[in-house]
């Protein structure tokens, strides 16, 4: 299902959570709503789900061209996965997954046995077979996450909405589950939106990244487009480490070329400040000799750092091969 959001505004009292937001989500895409806390991304997701309502006015939310503003949450054809999973704690895993089917009107409700079978089926698809009789409290975070996903999928939604799906998990589980979700999405092809404040997660997982800030959409586009052509300084700074040079110019640490101070074509010289080589690349801070510059973060191949035999306090030269871009607007 494709989604079209037009001129959406939402206030909580005097606080404006969304300010004239418009966005198109193509059918079958995986879209990330990315932003710091308070940027309005979760509110947007909840309005799509029908858990919150936009301020009256010109706002329109179209699912496949149909305005859903008056349609209650349960009839919108959405599956929602909550940040803390919101599993029914007094029900077994199978009962949780079957809940959406068991509350259907009697005329559409499948028999009890079939509901359980469908639940077991879904459990298999999220790779948790055998856990059907456990309680949510007996599962790990990653398992709960997948039960919540299976529960949302049981009602055969046309859109999947996930609120900070990996927020409460530890780093390793997070990575695994992220990959798994991408694969899962590619298999079932369900239009999916997820909220995150983790830029790495958004860039790695999504087809379309929507960067939000202060109740507005700052920029949206494909991950690479957003990363390579940030339109504002905020997007530049939010999407990963960046150096701000005098005159509001930006350059990412890996775009800077590290040289000896006496080499040709050096734009700036400075001293290595805190060299950090434990990892795939060497990271260091450079304290520039020119007082116009602040400390500059530089990432270089470890190999190069070893060949140059760099240690803290060494004098080095920096070259900006792609000369620092100006943001289009600030």
């Amino acid at each position: 299902m494709s989604i079209s959001i037009q001129h959406l505004t939402k206030s909580f009292g005097s606080y404006r959570a969304l300010d004239d937001v418009s966005l198109d989500v193509p059918e079958g895409s995986l879209t990330a709503l990315l932003g710091p806390s308070g940027s309005g991304k979760t509110t947007l997701l909840r309005i799509l789900a029908g858990l919150e309502f936009a301020d009256p006015g010109g706002a329109r939310i179209l699912f496949d061209g149909v305005d859903v503003a008056q349609i209650p949450a349960g009839d919108r054809g959405i599956g929602f996965v909550f940040q803390h999973y919101a599993l029914f704690r007094h029900m077994s895993v199978a009962e949780n997954i079957g809940f959406g089917l068991s509350v259907l009107p009697a005329s559409q409700r499948p028999p009890r046995k079939e509901i359980r079978e469908r639940a077991l089926d879904l459990l298999k698809r999220v790779k948790l077979d055998g856990l059907q009789d456990r309680r949510p409290s007996e599962l790990s975070g990653g398992q709960r996450q997948r039960v919540a996903l299976a529960r949302a999928l049981a009602v055969q939604p046309k859109v999947l909405l996930l609120d900070e799906p990996f927020g409460a998990l530890d780093a390793q589980v997070r990575k695994d589950l992220r990959r798994w979700l991408r694969q899962f999405h590619d298999e079932i092809g369900l239009t999916t939106l997820f909220v995150t404040h983790d830029q790495e997660e958004a860039l790695e997982l999504a087809d379309q990244v929507v960067v939000m800030r202060h109740a507005r959409i700052e920029q949206s586009g494909a991950p690479q487009e957003i990363y390579d052509q940030p339109r504002t300084s905020f997007v530049y700074e939010f999407l990963g480490e960046v150096n701000k040079l005098p005159g509001d110019r930006y350059i990412r640490p890996h775009e800077i070329e590290l040289k000896f101070a006496a080499d040709e074509g050096v734009d700036l010289t400075g001293r290595v400040h805190r060299l950090f080589v434990a990892g795939p690349i060497a990271r260091m801070g450079i304290l520039p000799d020119s007082p116009a510059f602040q400390e500059i973060e530089v990432w270089a191949p470890r190999e190069q750092v070893r060949e140059m035999a760099l240690t803290d306090g060494d004098l080095v030269g920096l070259r900006f091969p792609t000369f620092p871009r100006l943001p289009l607007k600030s």
């Binding site: 789900a49 209650p72 929602f80 704690r89 959406g100 529960r151 009602v155």
Partner: protein
């Protein structure tokens, strides 16, 4: 010098502290409770039984049960509704409503009784109209039920609000997105989550409904066999120097208290082992 955890006291200090606590409890709680039973049985089992099967005693027991049978279910409904409203919705006047629920705790029960007397009594606002239509509320059973209702109003709501507050609205919202209707959400998601807290609240509400003295005393009129509840009956007997009979009746209330406490501990055990940890 040997090291010991900063939180543990030396042995003599511990003994003194424990002795103080146990002594205080014994002196002010256990001894009086024991005395009730001793006094009740002082003149033998037959006197004890006679006091309990006395016509007026039975009528008092019936009235107490009757008032509780009305007040407890009604306040259970009110309590659930109020707790639901306060914890699942954000609206203007929410804190005001919260304070209002506590009013019966804050106000002296005597005042609660007087309020009803002021409204429905012979000299009260509605007194003349009620007299005209031959409806008796004060010095009659309806007054007693009203007073009991008022005094026991906060118990269920007060017990449920923290439980529901802690559980938040996530599960209800999840049920909503899965297509459940309001009643389905309440019956299948909310109610199972609050059932132990609810039972606990009902228990406390019942104990108070049966034991209430002050408010009921004001509106009852103390008509023997008609408007005396068990606590009032005990007072009448006591004032008439029928100590054994008074204490015999008092054992019933004491037993009710013990039963409530026992069930309460049992529930707390369950609540403790069942309160699932989130995340």
């Amino acid at each position: 010098m040997s090291l010991r955890p900063v939180t543990s006291e030396s042995l003599p200090v511990r003994i003194v502290l424990i002795a103080c606590a146990v002594g205080f409890l014994g002196l002010f709680l256990l001894v009086p409770l024991g005395l009730v039973f001793v006094e009740a049985l002082r003149r033998g089992g037959s006197v004890f039984l006679a006091a309990l099967t006395d016509r007026h005693a039975l009528s008092a027991i019936r009235l107490t049960l009757f008032a509780a049978a009305i007040a407890v279910p009604l306040n259970t409904l009110f309590g659930i509704a109020a707790a639901w409203l306060i914890t699942k919705f954000r609206f203007k006047g929410r804190t005001w409503l919260l304070a209002l629920i506590d009013l019966p705790f804050a106000v002296s029960p005597v005042i609660a009784g007087l309020v009803w007397a002021l409204i429905f009594g012979a000299q009260g606002w509605l007194g003349p109209w009620l007299a005209e239509h031959d409806i008796r509320i004060i010095f009659a059973v309806p007054g007693i039920v009203l007073a009991t209702l008022f005094v026991t109003f906060p118990f269920v709501a007060r017990e449920l609000i923290p439980v529901m507050e802690m559980q938040g609205t996530d599960e209800e919202e999840a049920a909503l997105t899965l297509g459940a209707g309001g009643w389905q959400i309440f019956r299948r998601v909310t109610l199972p989550n609050i059932r132990w807290g609810l039972l606990y609240g009902v228990l406390l509400c019942n104990a108070r409904a049966m034991g209430e003295f002050g408010a009921v005393s004001v509106v009852s009129g103390h008509i023997r066999g008609k408007t005396n509840t068990l606590p009032l009956h005990i007072e009448v007997l006591y004032n008439e120097y029928q100590f054994s009979a008074a204490f015999a009746a008092a054992t019933l209330l004491a037993l009710l208290a013990l039963l409530t406490l026992g069930l309460k501990s049992l529930l707390e055990l369950r609540l403790g082992s069942h309160s699932s940890i989130r995340h």
